[in-house]
Amino acid sequence: MELAVGIFANVLILSSMYILVALGFALLFSIAGILHVSHGAIYTVSGYICWQLAQTVGINQWLALLLTVLIVGSFGLFLERFCFRPFTGDFDRSLVVGIGIILILQTTIVVTVGQESRSMSAFVAGILHSGPISVSLERLVTFAIGAAMLGILVWFINNTKPGLQMRAMSQDLQGAIMQGININRTSAIAVVIACASAAVAGCLMGAYINLSPFMGDVVLGKALILVILGGIGSMSGIFYAGLILGALDATLPVFFSGSVAEVIAMGAIIIVLLFRPTGFLGRAIA
């Protein structure tokens, strides 16, 4: 019983972390058709910016998070204008630009801060005890913020004007242009949201696990799995995929050693995709 409750708590927390990290990536992949490979690097850099602001400049860590979101969000504007817009519809070249950005960001971290990992102080300290289980408050905050951001984003896409414009763009780009949608502005909004959510994820996860220059690579892999499993073009699919991946990653290591669990999880994902290439809630794209 105790084990079951513990596993359940772990599933929720892992899932919310995956969802938090994959949100922005999924938005860009689904809406703008951009495979945003530099998402992981932006996530990493955000963690470092927040750490630097809190540690070196010495401002409150929550304020530092807010500032980081603003800085990285405006970096998103730059990214959209100079890195994504010139390569619209050119998958290979936009991927290559993304790799260039990764190289620059990672190297900048290595050169300025160094390769060794850094620890950031927790946003919320303390542990919540409730009967047989005890969960650190930080995990709960991560879970709450992840869930809230997913909710807000789904609401945003389904109910606001820019959100509806994004959906129109993802369904039919030509049609969206003919309806007078300013596609450049709309994709700029999407990129800024993606970068801002990567920033939130980077700050929270940076405090949770240690900061290291290459921590974004793992995140990129998880985000890719979530988007594909959830279905390209579906934001709520991310939620289910996050839950399933979280469940796999939280329960399998109980029964198998780490890498064997990974093999089983990847095998399961591949088999699911063979029978349902579009993921759980996706639609076929060309």
Binding site: D92, G100, L103, G258, L273
Partner: protein, 321 residues
């Protein structure tokens, strides 16, 4: 240009080959020879990557197949005592076999879905290597693999020169033969290709079988050359780097991957003195090429040559009149 210059290209390649054959007489630094050897291996992998790419499939597990070749061969030689001369073909054949086996189910998927499922298969390979840590060394890597030709770098240089030359000749011939043309047809439109009687699934599987075979050869020889292998050389990011080499060099040209490997692997390696600043050089090359040369370096060179030829023709016409 085409009629009078028919012998230009082969003679350039023959000249290059002669220079490469004589190179160890002038280059005495074992470190430089080592870099050139690595360049040969990566040229082999990247060209085979592009071979699969021409069939309209983005094989994001390609570095993983290199890893299959490397680990199978290394394990066979180290734990089963097989001579590397037998274990290398074994590793390559296993890589090809796996390529064919996954080719059948994966041929159901196209475009981005194929890319993603092969990406996940690549991740599966890496975690499988980590899972069987008893034989593979796991995340720490496999060390003390029996070397193929001893520990001096120069014999390997001639070995890799020969291997890469033969492999490139085969892949080059293949591209303009029936299978190669079928691959290009499938990549352009699988519907049209099927309507003229090309068996899409079959030719896509052939493409991945051949690509994986050469990736396996490269991986296996790399294992017995380097004598140390780790999972990071075969990870998802390693495959992405192969794609970058191809795109920077130029997807549309057989020489593209060769130029790409030279620019992005050899040049940064030669500038190792800059230490942690080296990735800036790679990033600068990547961004420069992507912004200024839409068809890669070879694309630019090609249009430059045809522009010069045009100019030359005009001038001769003017002089004659």
């Amino acid at each position: 240009m085409i009629s009078s210059g028919k012998m230009v290209k082969p003679s350039i390649w023959a000249g290059l080959l002669i220079i490469l054959l004589l190179l160890p007489l002038f280059v005495k630094s074992p470190y430089l020879i080592h870099i050139i050897n690595l360049t040969f291996i990566y040229i082999l992998v990247t060209v085979s990557f592009r071979a699969i790419l021409t069939s309209g499939q983005l094989p994001l597990a390609h570095a993983g197949f290199m890893g299959i070749g490397a680990y199978v061969s290394a394990i066979a030689a180290k734990w089963l005592g097989l001579t590397p001369w037998l274990s290398i073909p074994l590793g390559a054949l296993v890589a090809m076999g796996v390529g064919i086996l996954i080719g059948y189910p994966f041929a159901r998927l196209r475009a981005v879905y194929y890319a993603m499922i092969s990406l996940f298969f690549g991740m599966l390979i890496v975690s499988a290597v980590k899972a069987f840590a008893r034989w593979t060394g796991g995340a720490a890597g496999l060390t003390a693999i029996p070397p193929l030709l001893g520990f001096s770098k120069v014999p390997y240089y001639y070995f890799f020169l020969g291997l890469t030359t033969v492999a490139l000749l085969i892949l080059y011939r293949l591209e303009s033969s029936r299978p190669g043309l079928n691959w290009k047809a499938i990549a352009q439109s699988h519907m049209v290709a099927a309507s003229v009687g090309i068996n899409e699934a079959r030719y896509r599987i052939i493409a991945s079988a051949i690509g994986c075979l050469f990736a396996g050869i490269a991986g296996a020889t790399y294992a017995h050359y380097n004598t140390v292998i780790g999972t990071s050389s075969f990870s998802f990011m390693a495959t992405i780097m192969l794609l970058i080499y191809v795109v920077v060099g130029g997807v549309g040209n057989f020489a593209g991957p060769i130029v790409g490997v030279f620019l992005l692997m050899t040049v940064p390696e030669l500038l190792r003195g800059l230490r942690e600043y080296v990735p800036y050089i790679s990033a600068a090359i990547v961004l420069l090429v992507v912004y200024l040369m839409p068809k890669g370096v070879t694309g630019l060179v090609k249009s430059l040559i045809s522009w010069l030829a045009e100019l030359w023709k005009k001038r001769r016409a003017n002089n004659a009149s």
